[in-house]
Each structure stands twice: as C-alpha cells, then as structure tokens.
C-alpha cells in the first residue's frame, strides 16, 4: 500500500476511536477537507457543489467511511468498493441514503455544519446532534511516523516553491509573478493548492495584495503558500524586503519569539500558554499564532478563537507563525512529551 493510503487508514482508525470515546454512532461531514480527513478519499465534491448536505458518513465500527463522490478513482485502495457510492444530486435521495446508513447505529449523530435536514433526522430518531469539531480535533493526533513523513515532504515542496517566490520579490514584480515562480519551482503537485497564495504588504498593518499589485521599492513583502502532495498539506511563510534585504533585525527578533513559543510546545501545554510565551517575546497578534497541519489546515488553532484551554496532544503537527516587528514567517514542528521536533529548518 502506498504511504498516503496507509496514512489515510491510520487517520480513519483515530476517527473511529474518537467516536467510540464520545459515544458517537455516526459522523456526517459536508466540509471538503474534513470529509477527506475522516474518509481518506481524495475528493468528494464537485467544486461549488458543497453546501450543508453531508457527502461522507462514518458509521461507528464500520470498516470504512461511506463516501458519496463523483471521483471513485480517489478512494483509497483499502476502502471496500461498496463504501464508494455515486454522489447524488437529489438532496432528498442523498438524505434518504444517509438515514439508511445511520438508522442501525447507536449514540449521538455528529455533524460539522448546520443542516435542517440532518437536524430533522436526529430529532426523528430521538438522538442528540452534536458538533463534530471536537471529535475531529481529537482525531488529529497522534500522527504516525508515516503521516509525519508525508507532511515533511509537503513542507519541503512548498518551501522550495516559496524560496523561488521570495527570490522573485523585487521592485516592479507583480504579485501574480511571485505566485507563478512558486508554481514553477514547487515539485510536482499531487492535489490542489491550499490557496492562491497569500501575499501581504507589511507596514503599519498587513495589506493582502491581489495578483495585479506591483511590488514597490520600499515594500516589505510577507508570503504564505500552501500545496498538497500525496494528500498532505505543506504551508510555509517568509518575509523579505523588495530590496532583497532579508530583514535581519526582524528575523532575529522573530527567531527569538519562535524559540520561546517552541519551548512551550509539549504535550499538555495549552494555547493560552503558547500565546503568553509569544506575547512575552514581543510577538503581536496577527491572525493565528499556530495551527495544526495534516490533510489541510487542521486543529488546533492557537490564537483568539476560544480554544485557549485545550491542551496540546503529543503527536500533533503545528505550524508556528509568530509575528514580531511586522515580520511573519513559519516553520513546522512535531509536538512530543518533551522538546518538540522541528520538521523543517527555520527560514
């Protein structure tokens, strides 16, 4: 079995274990990356078709998730053929089939998005409908060495592309050109980019630049790019001046804050602990301080989203993104019981 399929199987077992711990009988997912996370299927939706109708149903103790998809060639090889069903464009038929799947189960129904139809399904069966987010967050770790290796590969691919984009930052360069350099330099992409690439002008505040913007001589440009390889995501960021200056002072201050935050990254530390360490080291609050990484951007999300008390689990992959003196950049690390393991060199 290829490493990506094996990793998907390991994730699926963690999802099942979390369902058992939380007495969830069926997990219904409509959000594309969450559906991929739980099922292992590479793509379950046509672009834009996803709303609140679940496309993946995980029944407790089932050998595989049931996936409703237009792309059956995206199912992992261990998934039984019977678990791969054609996507139904009729919402009524889709919901009827979901009702059939969940009827024999016991325990709560967990769902990621609000759907009146799913609410009715839960009400009719007298079962609680609960938020799937905590369950999925719990299943994000501990990652196996195989999963971590795939994430490291994705990070390396993204970093190679980012280096090319950074090298192209110069007065007169269009933002679109920076993205083009990323796309050309990143090793072959298996899957789709995490985003169009985020390019910011770092000044008194950060200004997100659209593709037609031209870099000016006195600009300091922050870049964040992401991609998928083998079903796993790499997200990387760096900052550079248009003059080519590597922003040495900012980078040094950022590096010190990074080390301060990283020291806190161990099993049991909370998001609040990380944020306190970051603030003490001079980091400002510009978006999340850190986020998980796996088949996309995953829990935990550290920074201002009400998750301050949730402890870090060993086996979590974290992308740290402190911002110090208008300088943002990222490296990723692996949380353990003790000191974290860096998954890439700091930029």
């Amino acid at each position: 079995m290829d490493p990506a399929s094996a990793a998907a199987g390991e994730r699926y077992r963690r999802v099942q274990a979390a369902m058992a711990r939380r007495d969830v009988g069926a997990l219904l997912l409509a959000t594309p990356h969450l559906a991929t996370f739980a099922s292992g299927a590479r793509r379950v939706q046509v672009a834009g078709s996803g709303a609140a109708v679940p496309w993946v149903v995980v029944v407790r103790d089932a050998a595989a998730a049931t996936v409703f998809t237009p792309d059956p060639d995206g199912a992992p090889p261990w998934m039984p053929r019977s678990a791969v069903e054609r996507l139904r464009w009729s919402r009524d038929r889709q919901l009827e089939r979901i009702a059939e799947l969940v009827a024999p189960t016991r325990g709560a129904l967990a769902c990621d998005v609000f759907s009146p139809a799913v609410q009715r399904l839960a009400d009719a069966s007298g079962r609680p409908l609960v938020d799937a987010a905590p369950l999925l967050a719990e299943a994000a770790a501990p990652r196996s060495e195989g999963e971590v290796a795939l994430i490291v590969d994705a990070l390396a691919a993204a970093r190679a592309g980012l280096r090319a984009a950074v090298a192209a930052v110069a007065p007169g360069a269009r933002v679109a050109t920076l993205v083009s350099h990323f796309a050309r330099a990143a090793p072959p992409v298996f899957g789709f980019p995490l985003s169009e690439g985020l390019v910011w002008r770092a000044g008194a505040s950060f200004t997100r630049l659209d593709p037609t913007t031209v870099v000016e001589a006195d600009d300091v440009i922050a870049l964040e790019f992401g991609l998928y390889t083998n079903g796993h995501a790499g997200v990387v960021g760096d900052t550079v001046a248009a003059t080519g200056d590597r922003c040495v002072a900012g980078r040094r201050a950022w590096s010190e804050a990074l080390c301060a935050v990283a020291k806190c990254c161990r099993r049991g530390a909370t998001a609040a602990d990380l944020m306190v360490a970051a603030a003490a080291a001079g980091a400002s609050c510009e978006g999340p301080l850190a986020h998980g990484l796996g088949v996309g951007i995953e829990p935990p999300l550290v920074g201002g989203r009400g998750e301050e008390g949730v402890p870090l689990a060993a086996g979590t992959v974290l992308v740290l993104a402190p911002v110090v003196e208008r300088f943002p950049a990222t490296p990723a690390l692996f949380v353990t019981d003790g000191s974290p393991r860096w998954l890439e060199a700091a930029p």
Partner: protein, 380 residues
C-alpha cells in the same frame, strides 16, 4: 484589474437580485459563510481556496432587507458601503446583534456549534438553507457577470494552450499542474478552486474498474503516471477570476499526433454539442438538451457523460451551480428546468467507446434573448 472589491454596479445588481429572491423565499436575513456567497452578497473578497483555509481566516456576511455586514475580511477588500467588522471573539452574539429582529434566516455552511450558539442567542430563530434564496438569485447573470466569465474563460484557455506542448511521452500527469498554475498566474489569475485534471483516459472499461455501474469508463483525478505517446489526456481546469469560475476542458493526444480513433471520438463529441446547442434558447427545457444529446450519441450507447456527472451544468461566482443536466435528478425534474436569458451553461459531453478511448471537452455558453452566445472558443 484590481480584485480588492467588486465594482459598485455589479454589487448593486447582484444584491438587488438576492434581496428579491430573499423576499420570495421568505428569508428575512441571510448569514453566509462560504467565500463565494459572501462575495456575491457584498462584493467583499474573502481569502479564496481550500475550505481548510477558512478555519484560519473565517469570514461571514449578513444580509438583511436594508443593510449588509461583513465579518473577518480586511478593510481593503470590503466595499465602503458595507458595514465591516473584524472576526468577533463571540461570533454568535455579534451575528445576533446585526440580525436584530430577523427570525427567518438562511444559512449556507454554518458550523454546527455556531448555529447552536446562535439559536441560543436568538430565541425563536428559524434557520433554514440559504439556497432557496441564493440559487434563484444567481441563476441569471447580469451582462457584467457574463463579461467576467468570458474573460475568465479566455485566460484559462490561454493558459491551457501554453501547457499543451508539455504533454509529451514520459511527462508525469502531475507535472502538468505546476505548468498550468504558473501559466495562469502569468495571466494574473491565482485562485485555484478545483484540482486541475490532466489524466490519461482509459481506453477500456477494464482500465477503470472504479467506474460506477451504467457509466462510461473515466478518470477524474490527476496521478503520477508517466504519459505515453498517443495517450488521450483529458484536461479540466477551474480557476477563479474576480471570483467567477472559468472551466476549460479539452482532450489532447500525448505527443500531439491524433489517430483515427481520436478524430472519430472528437467528431462524435462535436455532433453531440451541436445537437444540444441547436436547442439552447429561452424556453427550452433541460430535458430537451438531455434528449438531444442521447439521440446524437446514437442508439445502444450509454449516456455520453460520466456517472454521476452531467451533460451540462451552470457556473458562476465561486463554482458550479444548477442546473445540473443528466444527473440522478432525472428527466422529470429536467422538464421543470427552463432556460432563461442570462443563464450560463457548461456543456461537457464525453464520447467514449470500448477500445477507442474517449474525448471530452467543455463549451461555455450564455443564453441570450433569442438563442445563445459562446463564451469559450473551440477546443484545441
């Protein structure tokens, strides 16, 4: 053109349609969290891309009969006449504040926990699917929307044309994605909304055992296989330009030299498209297009599109849209889908035959007052 916000006339036209549709659907307000929905309603540009990015940069729009609000989008990307808020620490109470007295509220992809908190914050709140408002509003495009779609399609076609010479023996399918994204970026388009497809079409059903029963053999996902001379490479690329999705599809023979089988299949595809186009006018039903495609494809052949995909679909801001023609919705439902001026359709039949392989391409049209206008060029 800058994509910082959408121009005022475009926003005004969309919002007027949305509010009319809300009134018809009985929605007092909408709470939208998908990037395309937020942009349609307000013109504010959220960070596009994969849904996982939304967990880091969430955004929302609230639309009432009198006012629009945006949460979580940078000021530079929010039109001046939209009330702007940072992403709140307590989203439910912030949304409850601006929803004011509204109780019949449509939502698109609201996280379950947020929905529950909102219901607690607003006793008597009746949440329902926003699609009963958004889909009717979006069904017909304004002239400006059609112009953007035409432009988006032209840029995507140009980028695909740049990549075609790279489809040579030994090239891996996945390598073509990087070429394409770079070519798109050079056009100024960087929002990749759907994984680009560059994959060799199976020539025999046995080569595609995953195909659903009753359908023609096909692949949808780019892999790491090396291409061989003569492979029929199916291309399908969707990018967002000013929020609107282009959708370019064609089939290219690896090495560039077509065979008799390739030409036969392409000719059949053209016959099907021509038969469908001949019926594309206001008042025609989706069922008419469906039947025309079946007839042009010839008897004793399965429908000329992959299961569970379609002969045609709508398209607009943020992705594919109804109508979906040729799906499990069935002919009876398609009899009720009536073409109207301003609708934009992608026709994408797939001519496939055991042993010969396949040919698939896409053709974008806008329904006009008396027929249709092609928004895409002929396939290469």
């Amino acid at each position: 053109m800058s994509t910082s916000t959408d121009p005022a006339p475009l926003r005004a036209a969309r919002l007027a349609r949305l509010r009319a549709a809300m009134a018809a659907a009985g929605h007092e307000a909408l709470l939208l969290t998908a990037a395309g929905g937020v942009r349609y309603a307000t013109g504010a540009v959220a960070v596009h891309g994969d849904a996982s990015l939304e967990s880091v940069w969430p955004a929302a729009a609230v639309v009432t009969a009198r006012k629009t609000y945006v949460f979580g989008i940078d000021a530079e990307h929010v039109p001046g006449d939209v009330e702007m808020h940072p992403w709140p620490a307590a989203p439910a109470s912030a949304f409850a504040d601006v929803l004011a007295g509204a109780r019949r509220v449509g939502v698109d992809r609201l996280p379950l926990a947020l929905a529950a908190a909102l219901v607690r914050a607003l006793p008597g709140l009746d949440l329902s699917g926003a699609e009963t408002s958004t889909l009717p509003a979006r069904r017909r495009k304004t002239a400006e929307e059609i112009a953007i779609l035409r432009e988006a399609q032209r840029m995507n076609e140009a980028a695909v044309a740049q990549v075609l010479p790279a489809i040579v023996p030994g090239r891996r399918e996945i390598e073509l994605t990087g070429h394409f994204l770079a070519a798109m970026a050079e056009q100024g388009v960087t929002a990749c909304h759907v994984e680009p497809i560059w994959c060799a079409i199976p020539r025999r059903a046995a080569d595609a055992p995953w195909t659903f029963a009753g359908g023609v053999a096909y692949r949808e996902l780019t892999g790491d296989r090396g291409l061989a001379r003569g492979d029929q490479v199916m291309i399908d690329t969707g990018m967002l330009h000013r929020g609107y999705m282009s959708d370019v599809g064609c089939t290219w023979t690896c090495g560039g030299e077509t065979t008799t089988a390739d030409r036969t299949l392409r000719a059949r595809w053209q016959v099907i498209v021509d038969a469908v186009l001949a019926r594309c006018r206001p008042g025609a039903t989706a069922a008419e297009l469906h039947r025309a495609a079946l007839m042009a494809n010839g008897p004793d052949r399965p429908p000329p599109w992959p299961v569970p995909l379609y002969l045609a679909h709508g398209i607009g801001l943020g992705g594919v849209e109804p109508p979906f023609i040729g799906t499990d919705l069935g002919l009876e439902a398609e009899e009720q889908m009536v073409l109207e001026p301003g609708m934009v359709l992608l026709l994408e039949p797939y001519a496939w035959e055991e042993g010969l392989g396949g040919y698939r391409a896409e053709h974008m049209i806008a329904i006009t007052d008396d027929g249709f206008e092609s928004l895409s060029g002929p396939p290469p």
